[in-house]
Structures are given as C-alpha cells and as structure tokens.
C-alpha cells in the first residue's frame, strides 16, 4: 500500500508538461504522411471515386427535376452498379485511417528509432498523441480537399450553387466522416502498439473493420432472436426486439456512420429508430427537418464515435506507457 502511494506520488510529481515536443512530432509525422507513397495511392483512389460517383450522380439528378436539397443528393445518389459516394467513403475512410496508423509505434521499434526518440526530452504521451493527431489532421486535410472538389464539381455539373443550409449540412457531414476515421485511426494505433509486425497490425485492423462492416449485422440479428424472441406476437414483444436489434447494431461504428450521414444528408429522415403511429400524431409528413433537429437526432451517434475513439486511444496509451523500450 505504501509502495503504491509512493508510486502515485511519483507519477503525479512528474516534471513539466506531458505535451512537450508534441507539435514537433505532429509536423514531422504529417510531412511523412502526406509524402508517403501509400497516401498518394489512397488519395488518388478517393479522388477518382469522388469524381466517378459525383459524375454519375449528377447524370441522374439532372433528370430528377426540382429538389430543395439537390446538392446533398450528389453525395447520396448512386447509379447501378456503383454505390453513392457516402457508401464508398464508408470503406475508404477506414482504409485510409488504418493505412495512416498501422505502423505508428511498431514502425519506430522496427526502424530502431524508438530509443533515440525517447531519449530526447519528451514524454511518451507526446509521441503517441502527436502521432494520432498527425493522422487525424492528415485525414481531415484529405477529406476536406475531396469535399471541396465534390462541391466544385457539383456547381459545375448541376449549374446551381449550394444553399446555406446545404453547406452547413455538408460541413457537419465532413465532421462526422472525420470522427468516423478517428475510430479506425485509434484502432490501428492500438494494434501498432500491440503487435510487433506492422503487417500483423494492419491485418488485425482490417479484420476488425470487416467484422463490423459485414458480420456484425448478422450477429446482431442472431443475438436479437436469441435474447428477445417474439413468442406470441404482442406489440411489446416486437417493439422490444426491434429496439434491441437497433441497440446492438449501433455497437458497430459503421452503423453509427451510416445513420449519422443519412440523417444529415437527407433532411426528410425524422427518426433513426422505431416510430410508433402514436408518435406521428401531429407530424407533417414529407417536410424536411431543420438542421438543428437533424443534428440533435445524430448527437448520440457523434458522441458515441468520439467516446469510442477516446476509449480505444486510452487503452493504447496505457499499453504504450508500460511497454519496455528494449526490444
């Protein structure tokens, strides 16, 4: 017990700011990220996807007549067999995030730069958070660029500028996409601490992403059947089952992303959950929600994404602090 409190005192008595040198790490890592071949490949891929999907969406939209949210449709309209741009982002963003971070820490070990790095007057905190922030900033930079390209293309192909509300909705959308990337960034960072081999870390990250993107939906359905079976067919039973299914499926960051993006880009969506006829009383169907109501609708999703990011990052932080430096 005494040893413990001494330990605590030691930790709390640590001199100086834990963020000393963090910006040096951020700038160096961002420069690395932006000049690396793997980022160039992914950027090219994303830009091509953006141009392709927006072009085909514009082709579709031209014939669709007047729509108050024409611009938002650019992001959500797909033409067979291509999915919409938001659908593409659903897997391109995790891919970019994983590519940015899967060798963050184990790369330093493998290059044998870790001991030289940590013998500089910085804490491990600065190194880890600096790397994470650099990844997040890179992601934000890339996504913002693509966002601007699409808006520009939209003006050219549709011939109308976006309205103020559309721009506001699109900015929120950008923010959600960046936070969605943040989760995968922290997952990949965690695995880069856990696994010595960058390839293992990359594969593990991709496995987790595939699990949530593809299998989690099925597992959620299965669990729902087991945990909340509909035996007789009462309304309560059915409601309970649907609610549980929704709750389970929202464990997946992909569901959170899709829900949030849909609510933002489609103002006609009034609820992301189960709506009972009683609740619809007095509602004017078919009218779009104002922006603040849409944001309110997805507020839990956004906080959920951020909370998960922080949680996973914190886990990685603890593991990294305990890691012995000598290989």
């Amino acid at each position: 017990m005494a040893a413990r409190s001494e330990e605590m005192a030691r930790v709390s008595a640590r001199e100086g700011s834990p963020w000393t040198g963090m910006w040096a790490v951020v700038w160096k890592e961002m420069a690395d990220n932006l000049t690396s071949v793997r980022m160039s490949i992914l950027e090219t891929l994303t830009v091509l996807t953006a141009i392709g999907t927006v072009y085909s969406a514009a082709q579709n939209l031209r014939s669709s007549g007047r729509d108050p949210f024409l611009f938002l449709r650019l992001f959500t309209t797909g033409r067979e067999p291509l999915p919409a741009f938001v659908g593409f982002l659903g897997f391109l963003v995790p891919l970019i995030a994983i590519a940015l971070a899967f060798d963050a820490i184990n790369g330093e070990f493998n290059r044998r730069t870790i001991s030289r790095l940590l013998s500089q007057p910085i804490y491990r905190d600065a190194l880890l958070l600096g790397k994470f922030l650099a990844g997040l900033f890179t992601l934000a930079l890339v996504l913002s660029t693509i966002w601007l390209i699409i808006v520009g293309l939209g003006i050219v192909t549709l011939g109308v500028p976006p309205s103020g509300e559309e721009v506001a909705r699109l900015l929120w959308f950008l923010l959600v996409v960046i936070f969605y990337g943040g989760i995968w960034l922290s997952v990949a960072t965690l695995f880069s601490i856990l696994f010595r081999q960058p390839a293992t870390a990359a594969l593990a990250s991709i496995a987790v992403w595939l699990f949530f993107a593809i299998f989690w939906g099925m597992i959620a359905d299965l669990l729902t059947q087991v945990l909340a079976p509909v035996r007789v067919g009462y309304l309560e039973e059915i409601v309970r089952q649907v609610r549980l299914n929704l709750a389970l499926s929202r464990i997946s960051p992909n569901t959170l992303y899709v829900d949030a993006v849909l609510a933002l880009l489609n103002p006609n969506i009034r609820s992301l959950g189960l709506v009972l006829p009683v609740q619809l009383e007095g509602a004017i169907l078919g009218t779009p929600l104002p922006l603040d109501q849409s944001v309110l609708l997805i507020w839990p999703h956004i906080t959920g994404l951020i909370a998960a990011t922080i949680l996973i990052f914190a886990l990685g932080y603890v593991l990294f602090q305990r890691r012995e430096i000598r290989a």
């Binding site: 030691r10 008595a13 640590r14 001199e15 100086g16 000393t20 040198g21 040096a24 790490v25 700038w27 160096k28 690395d32 290059r111 044998r112 730069t113 870790i114 001991s115 030289r116 790095l117 940590l118 013998s119 500089q120 007057p121 910085i122 804490y123 012995e324 430096i325 000598r326 290989a327």
Partner: protein, 318 residues
Amino acid sequence: MDEIVLETRGLTKRYGDLVAVDHLDLTVRRGEVFGLLGPNGAGKTTTILMLLGLTEPTEGTVRVLGLDPVRQPLSVKARVGYLPEQLGFYENLTARENLIYTAKLNGLRREEAYRRIDEALEKIGLVEAADKPVSTFSRGMRQRLGLADVLIKKPEIIIMDEPTQGLDPGVALEFLEIIRDLKAQEITILLSSHLLHQVQAVCDRVGLFHRGRMVLEGTVEELAQQVLGGAYRIHIEVEKPHHVLEEALRRLDGVVRVEREDTRAYLVEARRDMRAEVARAVHEAGGALLSLDMELPSLDEVYARYFEQQEVNDGSAE
C-alpha cells in the same frame, strides 16, 4: 572537477524472476570516461536505460547531474545524450532532416538549431553527406550521425552503448579519436562495450559487469593487479638462458611469476615497473641481455582470466 555527475546506490532491476541489475553502486565524476564491460546480458544496457529514466528501477536510487531520472526525466534527457546500441534513423529523410527533428524535440529555436547542426556535422565530418538520405549511409556514417544527433543538444554527459561494434577498425579508431576530443571538452562519457582493447584505449576507469553486478571497478592497471596478480609484463630475451638466471629473476622483490616463453625468451610478471632491476639481475647472473620490453596490461586478459576463474569457482561449487 571532482563533482559527481552519475551516481547509483543499490540500483536493482528485476524482470519477473530475472535479476538484470543487482544492487549496483556506481559513481562517475565530471570529465571522466567510464567503461562498462561485460558479456551480453550482464546488465549493461538495463543500467543505461535506468540512468536515462527509460525504464524504472525496481529498487535503489539514481542521481544524474543531481536529478532523479524517474521524477525529472525531461531535465535529465535534455542534458544527457544517448547513443543506443540499436541506432536507427528515418531512412527516407536526409541526415540534416533527421537532426532537425531531434533539435525540434529538444525545443531548440530554428536559427540555434541550424547553427548547432552545422557545427555537429562539421565536427564529425559528415558535411558532404548532410543532404543525402540516410538510406545511402554506411554503418560508420550512421554511427557518426548518431553522435551528431547527440551533440546538437550540447550534452554534459554522453552515454554510448556499444559505440564501436560493427565498425571497420579504421572507422572505430576515428570514433575513439572523437571520444577523446569530447573528453577534452569536459564532457563526461559512459560507454559500454565488449571490445576491450578499444575501451582500454579511451577509458579512465572501467567497471566489469557479471550477472547484474559490478564485480570489478577501477583503472585498467588496478584491475590487472587484482585479477592477473602481476600487472606489468616484461619480456626479455637473453643469449644463454640457464637455471641460475631464472632463479635470480624469481628472487627479485616485486616479481610475481617468471615463465619461459621460448628457447631464449622469458616472461616476467611484476607488480611495478621493474625493467631496470630485471636488466641488472640478468647482468649480475652473468647473462647477456638481447632485448627487453614491457607490455602494458591488457583488458582482454583481465577479462578472460576473470571469467576463467569464475567458471572454475562455479564448477567447484556445483
């Protein structure tokens, strides 16, 4: 001059059941070059990591420049340079870019950083290669870049882990020359090595590590005295070796051992420099001295002999 800059008391590090460092007491004074010797796994690197606060001691205290590396790691690491055994750089960056990163991590302002980088590159002779990517560098160039990396923070203490391992003999000698330069600038140097003749060439004092303990400590002569008995080895060659001569040498006060090396050569081990006495003894015994020279005690021998004795002891204990 006699200020203590590195001090450990009862320093211990355990990894589970394994005791990597066992109650180490070490004192290094300002301006000294201290060598940590010992086989791999003797606890040298663990000791170094604890001195830098890169790993926490299980027990005992460390003081580096009067600071505790666990509580004040930033101050310690700002004033102590570390050249690790496993030295790595960012391969895609140039030598200069690698150094700029280090300078920024040390919180140096741009102009100051650039000035120090130029100075350091000049000092270690990497000016021409400064703007080439590190991936094109040889082992020796990397090692020198590592030293430049340490120098830009203007350290008071430099800790080097196996600095000359894997270097060409020529490059290693240059490196030792740089170490002597640093010593001349009052920088304290702690280096670990198992390349003994090199350590011997630059170290003021050495400590011999064995299973986490520092079993011997002192100047090379002191160690030789302790382990070899006779620290001074005098080789003589005489025209007609005979029994009387050998006996006369053995009777000299201060001679530990006399051994016939060759048909005409003897090895005399002594506790002090006895060249004059040996020459006189040969003459008085009626012999004709052809050559005489004294060999300084070598660490290699100290080392080999110590571990030989250790094995004998271990063997008899079992």
